[in-house]
Symmetry: C3
């Protein structure tokens, strides 16, 4: 089954990737790797998922925010590679969690996007190296930002 | 026009790269990639650009700090590659902004270095993937630290 | 002398790498690179090295925590590559230090793991690009988390 078909079965509609209004881009391609920029939880052009873990957003909410970042990453990958079926490995995810100094459950927040990758690409391609850390603040006050490196086969 | 000539036209003089007094190096080369260490806004051997966004340094000042980190990265790239004309792509920048929990304008700070890369290398080579996040503190109290991955053609 | 022999001489016993109870893995391999996940200072299955620099853990203690992260990274590398003798370069380390807003000595903390890499692999292979930044909090309340990219020769 193609990844696109699987996404449809999961009820996931990939958003359109818009170019940032600045001198960077949503992704670069170098050799067989796609480098995805730090991706935020926007939905239909509106920023969602604001808050700080340990203060004013729950773990469950933040996991969903991480998943939304992941869906936006999938959209970037499709724009980069043409088809998600060409992705051969989710190599690494960097998960930045806006969190208070006493927060400790960053890995659980990160699972929101890690689970998505394995659900979409399967265990072999979707399993990835990752880091999950607490940061003092994120752009627009969002609770999670995720960047990534993916391997793909040029067609 | 060569990149060196362009830098001269921009009035940018690249500093000398000094080796850290520790067991790491300003860059490593692996295949066709140059990995640049987290780079600080030192000028003539003096650390500048101290402060925390949202507390005691303005956006405009911090953009200039990010640009200074970028100039230091260019110096590292020249040391690594011999000539900046061999750089084929600014692949990814990681921009760490020292920021208070309620700060939200990290992307604008990051533009200080993103704009420099495009100004120096042009849109095609200079446009990059990036992340911009707020961190609780940075070495020596500086407001911005930038690391990066660049692609180059060995001569 | 083999790296394993050197580790024995240094009195370092590599721990067993356990698979995370989540949808990520301790490492991925892409081409000739091993991407190591953000690694924590666990010892014998128990999380150690808790604290925040600038608040309740000393520099010396945190350097040892960084070193413990490094030992755990060595264990991951051995699991990934089969033998540490196949590692051809420590390409990049990312060092996240849990630190208060006024903390400034992140590079000294980072030296705990940087020194280990050079001690184990020697200057030529062990010297690496790195970043060291202060984060608001880390998983389980630990003081240091380290991720990395290594180059190896497939046998």
């Amino acid at each position: 089954m193609s990844i696109e078909k699987k996404l449809a079965d999961m009820g996931i509609i990939l958003p359109t990737v818009t170019m940032p209004a600045a001198n960077y881009v949503p992704f670069t391609i170098s050799g067989s790797h796609i480098f995805v920029s730090g991706t935020l939880p926007s939905k239909d052009g509106v920023m969602t998922g604001k808050g700080t873990l340990g203060a004013n957003i729950s773990l469950e909410e933040a996991q969903d925010v991480a998943r939304t970042c992941g869906i936006n990453i999938l959209a970037v990958l499709k724009a980069a590679a043409g088809s998600l079926d060409t992705i051969t490995r989710c190599v690494r995810l960097g998960i930045f969690v806006s969190a208070t100094p006493d927060y400790t459950d960053h890995p659980k927040v990160a699972n929101g996007v890690s689970d998505l990758m394995v659900e979409v690409f399967g265990k072999e391609i979707g399993s990835h190296a990752r880091f999950a850390v607490g940061v003092s603040s994120l752009p627009f006050g969002v609770s999670v930002e995720v960047d990534g490196v993916f391997e793909f086969s040029r067609t």
